[in-house]
Symmetry: D3
Subunit: 141 residues, 6 copies
């Protein structure tokens, strides 16, 4: 009989963004994206939950030591925290920084680092844009 153990760490960052599709007229952008087209952007306190799957190590009782996980997350978030994503983060030059797309970007950046540095696997990311709106992203097994 096998059990699953997941560890989730929550971190926050503050960023701003704008929803704008350059292939559309301004009128269509306004109709679809509403207030989110505001030209200089607007912002959020994003909350990121990173979930790891693995076996607790017999020596430490931990899937992954937070002293090892936190620097990875801080490193990845350096291009997101206190940034205007559309201008400051090259991933969003041609991709609208919706919660869906930011979650996907964070999954990709974090997964590489977990593979390189840890014995556990990235299981899921959850990204809250506000306390009432969040996206989850994971790889299907």
């Amino acid at each position: 009989m096998k059990h699953t153990t997941l560890l989730t760490k929550q971190v926050t960052f503050a960023a701003s963004h704008r929803y704008w599709n350059p292939n559309w007229t301004e009128e269509k952008n306004r109709r679809v994206f509403g207030k989110c087209t505001s030209p200089y952007g607007h912002g959020h306190n994003y909350v990121l939950e990173v979930t790891l799957q693995g076996e607790p190590h017999p020596d430490t009782g931990m899937i992954m030591n937070l002293y090892d996980l936190k620097p990875i997350l801080m490193d990845v978030l350096a291009d997101f925290d206190h940034k205007y994503l559309n201008e400051d983060n090259p991933r969003f030059k041609h991709t609208i920084p919706t919660t869906e797309n930011i979650a996907k970007a964070l999954w990709e950046l974090i997964e590489v680092r977990i593979i390189e540095n840890a014995d556990c696997a990235l299981y899921k990311v959850r990204l809250y844009e506000t306390p009432e709106l969040y996206v989850e992203y994971w790889r299907e097994s």
Copy 2:
């Protein structure tokens, strides 16, 4: 390699309800349901989380636009918000409005509307009766 993307939107409503099984004696109702049998009902600030599964559309970066989702949820909740569920909502004439049964009712009402109006699928509903008690309901794949 395929990934899953989920979008969750949280909305709230205030309703009241009473737990009462008409096939039981008053004494048995009191023993099983305790304070929840109080004859005129009592109430809660319900918190509903609606989770959609789909692919972010390349034009918008969104699984479903909140400007499209919110009117559906407001419409469905019109029979729940500021209502005494046992009297005001026909679904609970013969069904006790427990959190389990309210969650199931909301799934059925929302699923129809998502199928009619969106390219994504309803994945799960989660209904909080209080911050310490919630029910989740979804279709097994």
Copy 3:
């Protein structure tokens, strides 16, 4: 140099209520109170914060022992928790159970019990109807 020490204990209860002024027409009630006139009422998870002022006792380091405070609060809330306030609580036969009026009623009921049972004073009550709406009530010094 004198300092103030306050102790606040939070408790919750679930109740339902209806806003209705019997001196008004139904039309005026609807215009003023909107969805809150729904005839069978609707409900909330109320959160009550009770704040006491006093000097921590040198033997216990406490303004008031929670083992003494909690039974008082449970006792006072027996007429509010899992009740339809308009029908079940005599204080709201002729008084609309708004958050303002419920907070005042709770102040009066709790203050008597603190005066009888404790060396500290009731300083304030705060009553949340929802996490986004609350009333505070206290006696001006």
Copy 4:
């Protein structure tokens, strides 16, 4: 014996801002404001609590009807919500949009509207930049 009754309504808005003093060198701005000098700004989910003082009206049991208060707050927040405060809001052309200064601006804008429209008084505004940082602003009596 007189009592004080306060009513507090919480609303949220999403905005972005940048900390920058044009009289300082870039180096000094960076030293004082750190990541908050990021040139295109960054953002937050601001939470505003507006507190009113008054007597509950005998006809309604309310200090102020939320149906009257909410349009005022939505109207005032139209220049803040989904805006880059430094560019989009004329109040912050020459004033750094710190939480302290935004709270003061909101007090002034809301107070005028309460005086014009209500029988109660604005008692306090509290503005959360994040759940861990907030400013309160009121007039000394």
Copy 5:
């Protein structure tokens, strides 16, 4: 077409713990566990979410009555609440009381009691050490 219904109840307890591997030097314990090696321990307000899977009973509309579930949880938590886990709970004499290991212990203790007392199944436990860190544990099907 089959659906899944889950019921989750949240309870809290306060405990303290220390991270220490007796097979390691003090220096290695400090390097790996940092502040968590503090010799007399430190503590948390743990939040436990217990999730049950089952069919709502037609008579009650409930997967399991909270009046039946709560005594089981209180009973299980008697060895955890207001305890120093390393000294007071025999399970952690030779096992480091990390969130991973506490979650596993709670799963095992609660599962036995659910099997004995209820028609539903334990589906998952989630244990928050802080609001920013939690572990989930369940049996793979």
Copy 6:
């Protein structure tokens, strides 16, 4: 017309404590303090809110820069975070570490540091032992 501006910063720490009056019998300690007498202590995630009063500086728009405030708070909390207060913190050798007494200790330690380092004044500390229990402490003017 003068206004008051307050800035509040929230920080957290994890500690454990025991309630025990050495002048009392074990039986009396148990009767008064209940589970809090557990001999090896138990713990909490404490949340500390530090409120400063002052005028926003015209150059920065801030009462106090968080880059200056945070190191002071981290420094003060070094003797509280991840500690067993009764043994690790000399202030609680002869004083029971109730929330009331911890709040007073934190006020005294922080006030000295604010007086030495800032142009604003410490206005209040609020200490949450749990989300449902907190103490406030300030100097009467």
